[in-house]
Symmetry: C2
Amino acid sequence: MKAIPSRPALTRLFALGVLLVLGASVHAQTDPLTSWNDGPAKQAIVTFVEKVTTEGSPDFVPLAERIATFDNDGTLWPSHPMYTQLAFALDRIKALAPRHPEWKTRQPFKAVLDNDMKALAAAGEKGLVELVMASHAGMSTAEFETIVTDWFRTARHPRFERPYTELAYQPMVELLEYLRANGFKTYIVSGGGIEFMRPMTEAVYGIPPEQVIGSSIETRYEMKDDKPVLMRLPKVHFIDDKAGKPVGINMFIGRRPVAAFGNSDGDRQMLEWTGAGDGARLMMLVFHDDARREYAYGPANGLPDTKFGTFSQSLMDEAKKNGWVVISMKDDWKQIFATKP
Amino acid sequence: MKAIPSRPALTRLFALGVLLVLGASVHAQTDPLTSWNDGPAKQAIVTFVEKVTTEGSPDFVPLAERIATFDNDGTLWPSHPMYTQLAFALDRIKALAPRHPEWKTRQPFKAVLDNDMKALAAAGEKGLVELVMASHAGMSTAEFETIVTDWFRTARHPRFERPYTELAYQPMVELLEYLRANGFKTYIVSGGGIEFMRPMTEAVYGIPPEQVIGSSIETRYEMKDDKPVLMRLPKVHFIDDKAGKPVGINMFIGRRPVAAFGNSDGDRQMLEWTGAGDGARLMMLVFHDDARREYAYGPANGLPDTKFGTFSQSLMDEAKKNGWVVISMKDDWKQIFATKP
């Protein structure tokens, strides 16, 4: 009889077992950041969220004020070997070329058709604006949405050989979901075109169009066959980059974010603006130091310089000075994409 | 014993009574539009909402697409005897006058200081823009918010003698709440200044700042005493009126509304744009035909013409042609304000 424990003892053992099993499973289920390695970046996120969502805490932030803003290129998906939107513009120029025989001899169009990246770079910002206007304007907003949606369906990233929409950084997708689960409204605040992003942000990031802020060209309300349309005009309306990001945030949201995430010098002012508010704040920068799994560029910390998503040493210095958390892709992220390319 | 009913009979009677009482109270509790008289306007609202929220109905609208846009002046609160924001601008000019002795002899400022409404009208739109810039620019966004908030605290409507923030139309407040209770996101889309409205929309209409779209001046990101600020510049950025309303809706929301509410020719294109989408739509116009309780103006239907919130006969004709519902303040609204002024 000694070998068989008493009923109450059995019950206690069973209860303990259930607790252990449940405890473990609850813990596994409630780590919302499984693609993050344990480390200072992940810790900073969890600490911040617990602080601002704990009622009675001096750092508690009411639901309505839980605004988090995310840059897109280089923060939520790759910006190399070039911005996705530039890849779209180049493809679009090629698709439109048969209707524009003059492009065969006119820069910067000739450079695009010849795949001459040197000549393209030589065309500078003025050339880039010309390409954007030729590829992004002259149609209605509805037509542009169809063009963009079709492109996303067929285009492939040159290195990872899969649709761009499958290249969202898995740790950042988890971060977006974690913040939303804690009552945050998540916004994109990108230098990219607002109407280039909106057709894909809901499916890829869970961010609805009304929470996407970006650069825009002017549109004009017109009647076409007795139906109203918005025509896209070849004229810049707003550049949502650098000092434009706080301007865009103020215009679209009208509240200061309590958390902001970027990856380049284009995000500096957004992080400054976010950090200048009272109470707990979280500012983070994704640092691309993982050439093996993605890309490595700076020029901060001696990494190669880049035109797409420059992370300067002065930004790195400002991050240290202000307590902005720098995310090392190499060290902080267990995986980069949802599934291995 | 005959006089006393049996136990089961008593129980049945009691149950019936409870049902009757509950039924009546449920009915009373569930009329969300108590300030609306029964009639075609109220009926149109209820029919529309039931249609688009009934799963399986051919008119069902998914939650994410339930966007409703509301003009502000004349639709949610009075725009007479002048736009509230104009009253603010005039008060502000008077408050700033001691710092601007030259205004005593310079139009349109002299007209404001002399309360000379004829000279003010003669200054036209150019004069108005001058007044707006002098009263709305030259400070940071945070300073402007304080100025506006203070003004709303002290200013009184000249006829109703109460704060402007107590003059929201009660039937429209109920409509906003009814739509939100049915999963709608409610937006303001106003010709008024976006940063003039935002300090009060949450308290007055339950609409958060990020759901307020309006006209704006340019802002510039600057460092002031090592703190970032957004300075308000005397330069128009965007006019959210007439054909600008669909442009603003597309820019800020990126989705077409399924319901839109206005009161003047400034809302015509917003209603056209809303109506041009597929599926069930609701477009309504508040018609001010109630001089006794509020104001009466057109010039539609032979009412007096007005500079503030013009409802032209051609708008009335377009409403009839397109099936837009015209709300008669006199006939459709049981009461105008939350409590009688």
